[in-house]
């Protein structure tokens, strides 16, 4: 039992060290907007369900950010996310 626990803990630690994404990549993970850090791990940055303001629900999608920031995943009003990468 003890050995199994150690193996599980070790594999969880190793798993956390294996890069799973490219630095600065962004994605929607359900209602969460996530950004990939320098270790190749996803860091949560926003929860669209938590956003207040406006009359529509906020959802995560890929969009033009403006101000020379290119595109990226963010929380937008549902009507602006139609057809986007969700």
């Amino acid at each position: 039992m003890r050995e199994t626990m150690i193996i599980l803990a070790l594999s969880a630690t190793l798993e956390a060290c294996v890069p799973v994404c490219a630095n600065m990549q962004t994605r929607c993970n359900g209602p969460y907007v996530e950004v990939c850090d320098k270790h190749g791990q996803w860091q949560r940055t926003m929860t669209c369900d938590d956003v207040t303001g406006g009359d529509e629900p906020w959802v995560c999608c890929d969009a033009e950010l403006g101000d020379d920031a290119g595109t990226g995943h963010t929380c937008l009003p549902e009507s602006e996310c139609g057809g986007g990468d969700q």
Partner: protein, 216 residues
């Protein structure tokens, strides 16, 4: 003077922005600390902060005096402040005292959301996670700035503050990216952080004169 000339002069008059009063800032802090059950402590006389300051100085992260005079620090629900609420300070105008209050309470939100173990562990152990937590709290500065001025603050400058948090350039770039992603939401009138939501809802009711004028 013709009406056109008069109108031109009126239009060129700078718009005087209302300033928060000392009383408003004190009421605001009272409201936020009550909502979160947080406690304000004078950083300049807190022995534990002197110890932290000496440690940071020793490992060459931050000068001890600078740490005690310039930085507000939150540990759990204890907020260590280098200024007296409602008294303008060289590094904290009255408006900045409002924004720092919201920023620090977002850290309290993070603690409530993630729990002590996860929050403290991630914040202290990995600089990337620390940058993510701080970028989230910097979003309060962004949201409050947009509410007041109707403009987006300098995101590079905000993210660069992480240089003093033991973060490297890759962490700073990621924090800036996180803020860029938030701008799209904020510009459309969205408020992401819970501490900002509480703060802006209170300010809308008690100090609507501080809000920027909506453009047609």
């Amino acid at each position: 003077m013709s009406s056109v000339e008069r109108e031109t002069i009126v239009r060129r008059e700078p718009i005087r922005k209302a300033e928060p009063t000392a009383e408003l800032v004190r009421d605001f802090w009272r409201r936020m600390t009550r909502a979160y059950g947080s406690r304000v402590i004078d950083k300049r006389s807190a022995w534990e902060m002197r110890l932290v300051g000496m440690f940071l100085d020793r490992i060459k992260v931050l000068d001890e005096t600078e740490f005690l005079r310039r930085y507000t620090t939150t540990i759990g629900k204890r907020i260590y402040m280098p200024f007296d609420v409602g008294v303008p300070h060289e590094h904290y105008s009255l408006w900045n005292q409002i924004t720092v209050c919201v920023h620090e309470h977002q850290h309290v939100e993070q603690l409530l959301r993630d729990g002590w173990l996860k929050f403290a562990g991630r914040y202290l152990v990995t600089s990337a996670a620390r940058a993510a937590y701080e970028a989230e709290a910097f979003r309060c500065n962004l949201e409050l700035h947009f509410w007041r001025f109707g403009e987006i603050p300098d995101l590079k400058k905000l993210a660069r503050r992480l240089e003093h948090y033991g973060c490297d350039q890759a962490d700073i770039d990621m924090a800036e990216r996180m803020l860029e992603l938030s701008v799209a939401t904020v510009r459309r009138g969205g408020i992401v952080n819970w501490a900002s939501q509480k703060a802006i809802s209170w300010l809308e009711r008690h100090a609507p004169e501080l809000k920027h004028e909506e453009r047609e």
